[in-house]
């Protein structure tokens, strides 16, 4: 039994299910679109002010939108108790976690790719620092959101109010990552400081939490 084959099969299956239902991506897009439009009506910032607040605005919007995808990804496994079919099989727990995390990363990345041009247009954004640095920030920041989110969404699966439980568990733990994403993005947009420290913080955060989630996921999956 190949670890890679199970990961690939589970990821392919999740993408196929999302492609057919579009539950997560539609909900995320709608939510993010609302944030962009409502905030653009609420404020009328100058280009300079936009650069200062856009980092926070963009990442908070993506964080809240990601919650939808994170809840959906495990809700699918609860319908018809399909998760039990995985648990009763000899497949190890880790490929399931990796496939779910990578799938969520892809869904949130699609959202970011679609929403970023809108943020740029609505808030008249133009990076004064090296814009290419936004790419590693986006990758590291998105992974920070989805790796913990996938883990805690699985943990809150069997709780009654799981839609509430996920943000309650996830948001406090995401504060260091959010600080990194927002400050790094703002540093690039304003060009006033180097984002290196914040990128390093995101790398450290991702390594620590990915390792912890991989080590603990088996216990989460086997919990009754």
């Amino acid at each position: 039994m190949s670890f890679f084959a199970i990961t690939r099969a589970t990821l392919t299956k999740d993408i196929r299910l999302e492609w057919r239902s579009k539950d997560a991506i539609n909900a995320m897009l709608f939510f993010s679109l609302l944030v962009v439009v409502i905030f653009s009506f609420a404020f009328d910032p100058t280009a300079e002010e936009s650069r200062r607040i856009a980092g926070g605005l963009v990442w908070v919007a993506f964080l809240f939108a990601a919650i939808v995808a994170l809840n959906q990804t495990w809700a699918r496994e609860l319908r018809n108790q399909v998760l039990d079919a995985y648990r009763v099989s000899p497949a190890p727990a880790t490929p399931l976690f990796i496939a779910k995390a990578v799938g969520n990363f892809m869904f949130v990345a699609v959202l970011e790719a679609l929403m970023t041009p809108l943020f740029v247009a609505f808030y008249k954004l133009r990076a004064l620092g090296p814009a290419w640095q936004l790419l590693p920030i986006a990758v590291l920041g998105t992974w920070a959101l989805v790796v913990n989110g996938t883990f805690f969404a699985a943990m809150s699966l069997r709780t009654r109010a799981r839609e509430i439980m996920l943000p309650l568990l996830l948001f406090p733990l995401s504060i260091p990552a959010l600080l990194g994403m927002v400050n790094a993005t703002t540093a690039v947009l304003t060009g006033e400081s180097s984002p290196t420290f914040w990128i390093a913080l995101l790398v450290a955060y991702d390594v620590v939490f990915t390792t912890a989630c991989l080590l603990m996921f088996d216990a989460v999956l086997e919990a009754e």
Binding site: N80, Q81, A85
Partner: protein, 227 residues
């Protein structure tokens, strides 16, 4: 009798399973031989499903011991267990073949054999493997059969079926009962939890009656039991 034949497929000793303060199993003890069809009966809340889930490794005993296929580590036996639950354990948005192809990967079936094994499993339950409809659009009877096909996919030695006849018409239930008996005839040990024991009366080797989390009777015929 060889050693393999005499070793019970499932052996439970004082099995207790508690959910908080509620004890679903209150000391289940018994040995179950290979190649037989066991029908587990009892009222709602008797502990039938919990016993099946404990054998499958989906529920962990609070106290007591259980050995499945000669091992107390159920994780090691999982490749040899087929499990069909009351819900279908299938993805509604995917076709039967797509579902089975995915589960084949979980059982490590070689890629070259996947299509053949999936088709065989679907044929065995008398469904069409080329049916392109998502499982969510199947009738309840078809869904139950596809669920049985999923449980048979890994050619298990031990087959655990929870309410396979529920919500299906009489004809489908009778056909399912034949499929279950055929699985036993192919050498599999089969446990069936059901509220419709008459469906399996002609095929069962033993009826196991449960009450309040305990096995209270084991008989060869339905008439000879507490029914």
């Amino acid at each position: 009798m060889s050693e393999t034949q005499s070793t019970p497929v499932v052996a439970a000793d004082g099995l207790i399973k508690q959910f908080g303060r509620f004890a679903a199993l209150r000391g289940v003890t018994g040995e179950f031989a290979a190649g037989k069809l066991y029908v587990i009966l009892g009222d709602n809340g008797a502990g039938k499903t919990t016993l099946l889930r404990t054998i499958a490794g989906l529920a962990h005993a609070t106290r007591g011991k259980i050995s499945v296929l000669g091992s107390t580590d159920i994780g090691a036996s999982r490749a040899q267990i087929g499990y069909m639950a009351h819900p279908s354990l299938l993805y509604d948005e995917m076709s039967g073949m797509e579902n089975l192809r995915y589960f084949s990967e979980l059982y490590g079936i070689p890629p070259a054999d996947v299509d053949k094994r999936c088709r065989e499993a679907i044929h065995a339950v008398k469904l069409d493997p080329d049916l392109d409809r998502p499982v969510g659009q199947y009738s309840q009877g078809m869904r139950q059969r596809m669920s049985l096909a999923r449980a048979l996919l890994n050619d298990p030695k031990l087959l655990l079926l929870d309410e396979p006849f529920s919500n299906v018409d009489a004809r489908s239930a009778a056909e399912m009962a034949v499929l279950v008996a055929q699985a036993r005839d192919r050498g599999k040990t089969v446990f069936v939890v059901t509220h419709q024991p008459a469906q399996l009366e002609a095929y069962a080797d033993e009826f196991i009656w449960m009450e309040l989390g305990r096995i209270v009777d084991r008989t060869a015929t339905l008439q000879g039991s507490r029914a």
